[in-house]
Amino acid sequence: MSLILIAEQVLNGLQFGVMLFLMAAGLTLIFGVMGLINLAHGSLYMVGAFAAAAVAGATGSFLLALAAALAAAALAGVLIEILVIRRLYRAAHLDQVLATFALILIFSEGTRWVFGSFPLFLDVPDALSGPITLPGGIQYPVYRLTLIGIGLAVALGLWWLTARTRIGIQIRAGENDREMIAALGVDISRLYTIVFALGAALAGLAGALVGAIQSVQVGMGEPVLILAFVVIVIGGIGSIKGAFIGALLVGLTDTLGGIFLPELFKLFMPADAASQTGSALASMAIYILMSLVLIWRPSGLFGARA
């Protein structure tokens, strides 16, 4: 196994990780500020991907497609926040799970209704297609490298937003004591809508960006949603830093596990059984990672409340 292959897989893991971070950041913000568990976050990811594919198909511009993804997901987010989610902030977790599960059903079947059951395709823009040679002679797709860059930029932007801006202070204050900041004159319901729209837009962005490497289809959001849950459980719910570290851990574990576990088992097992056992174990690797983290710290790496 060459160093180049390892470096490539590490980059793949990073790319997967930062995309998971875009999903997990929204989820963890929404939970941290509003105390809401949002299963429909995966639907917003799907909305972003479909909007991007539709606009790219009509105009041919990838930038317009990204803008459409952000706008459509944010709009869908605002819409469901005002119509449904707003009524759930004080409800039991069970009601939140159910109502957002109902939203998934509506979004998925609605999208199937409009776009049909066949997957759409979103092409990587010409300027970013093809590989680039990195130091050390590693050939790596430019587009995936761009995704890593965008993910890191968003992470930095979110840190700046929450740590340095007025709205960030309000968000952090909202996590701590919603009555108090409402009493200080902050329009709490507008703040909630903004946070929800922000999380939705990030999910939509992730959907559009990943949609260009995978196919855009109904149900694409749910596997990512569940991985994002694993991420925020590992990182600690409500913590953006935790979401970032958790996302990278999950991305790297999943990618590297899939490649190296079968190889590892080949050292002491027959090749056939090794690739079987290895790939079965690799598909469970992130959940095992999650269990280990939970045994060690039940509220996640950076979680404050259990």
Binding site: I37, L94, L98, A102, W113, S283, M284, Y287, P298
Partner: protein, 327 residues
């Protein structure tokens, strides 16, 4: 307003009446639908012990449903291919006998529930929801990658397993088995909630601190409830696999876990008969709306939203005029 006990009897009576009618006019498909409803109800009755009494919102009960299904699938597969099932230290023959399969399904899912419960119950609230969901996915992906038993394609069993003295291939006889098991589970559930254990569990859901003060351990109560709950859902999984004569990783899917919760909430959380009402309505809607439009999930979603936002106690809540069970 109507009492809960009479609703229970009326619902079970209605289900029997529908089946009796189907038998008279010779509509075996309706009997199969009723069987499906009874099995889903059984799974949800299991979940209702964890969710309704114990307050544990498990979004991973498909694990037990799937394990029950695969217990049936694997045992029957080895029996129909006359191959030995190698368990490492010992190797056993497969079986086509329902009671044996049920015991294995109960045992395996109880064991899985014990392990998952030990880990998940260290947390609570939203963590618990997400962790049970994640364990569900873990089993789902494991089943997909486990090619010895069909992987993604699943396993087909050619002939339905047998029960001593009955011909399980006759729809009404198989319905009878499922209905009897459902009634047994309901009876167990009713006894359980009236028992000291059930009362303590109920209290642990409401005010855990008080339970600790009187010297009980909420963790242990919840773990036991979770294990019983998982075992019953596992039994339902074995029956479900027998109904379809097919098991596949979709029995582990998280949508199924979600649907089990949906069944309970449609009927009324924590109500004895809630899951049965939910399952009957769900199967009826699936059949009726699914015949009208391919996109029936949109309507299911809308109905569900309506129930969560406006009819918090589910159907039983509407009928009795009380949002929650009287405990």
């Amino acid at each position: 307003m109507i009492g809960e006990r009479s609703i229970t009897l009326v619902v079970l009576g209605l289900l029997l009446a529908v089946v009796a009618w189907a038998l008279v006019v010779d509509e075996p498909f309706t009997i199969t639908l009723a069987t499906r409803a009874a099995i889903l109800a059984l799974a949800a009755v299991g979940l209702n012990i964890a969710l309704g009494i114990g307050g544990m919102v498990s979004l991973g009960h498909a694990v037990f449903f799937g394990l029950g299904g695969y217990a049936m699938g694997i045992l029957a597969y080895h029996a129909q291919s006359f191959s030995a099932l190698d368990l490492g230290l010992v190797s056993v023959a497969g079986t086509k006998s329902m009671p044996v399969i049920w015991l294995v399904a109960l045992g395996v899912s109880a064991l899985a529930a014990l392990l998952i419960g030990l880990l998940s119950l260290r947390t609570s609230g939203v963590y618990f929801i997400m962790i049970t969901l994640a364990f569900g996915q873990m089993f789902y992906y494991f089943a997909i990658s486990w090619s010895a038993y069909g992987g993604e394609d699943g396993l087909s069993i050619y002939v339905r397993n047998g029960f001593p003295g009955l011909n399980t291939l006759v729809p009404i006889q198989f319905f009878g088995i499922c209905f009897a098991l459902l009634c047994a589970a309901l009876f167990l559930n009713a006894r359980l909630r009236a028992s000291p254990f059930g009362l303590a569990l109920n209290a642990a859901r409401q005010v855990p601190a008080r339970i600790e003060t009187v010297g009980l351990t909420p963790f242990r109560l919840k773990l036991v409830a979770f294990v019983i709950s998982g075992a019953i859902t596992g039994l339902a999984g074995a029956l479900f696999a027998d109904l379809n004569r097919f098991v596949s990783p979709t029995m582990f899917s998280w949508q199924l876990s979600g649907e089990l919760i949906v069944l309970i909430v449609i009927g009324g959380v924590g109500r004895l008969i809630g899951p049965v009402i939910g399952a009957c309505l769900f199967v009826a809607l699936e059949h009726w709306l699914g015949g009208l439009t391919e996109f029936w999930h949109v309507y299911l979603g809308a109905i569900l939203l309506g129930i969560v936002l406006f009819a918090r106690g589910g159907i039983v809540g509407l009928l009795t005029g009380r949002e929650g069970p009287h405990v």
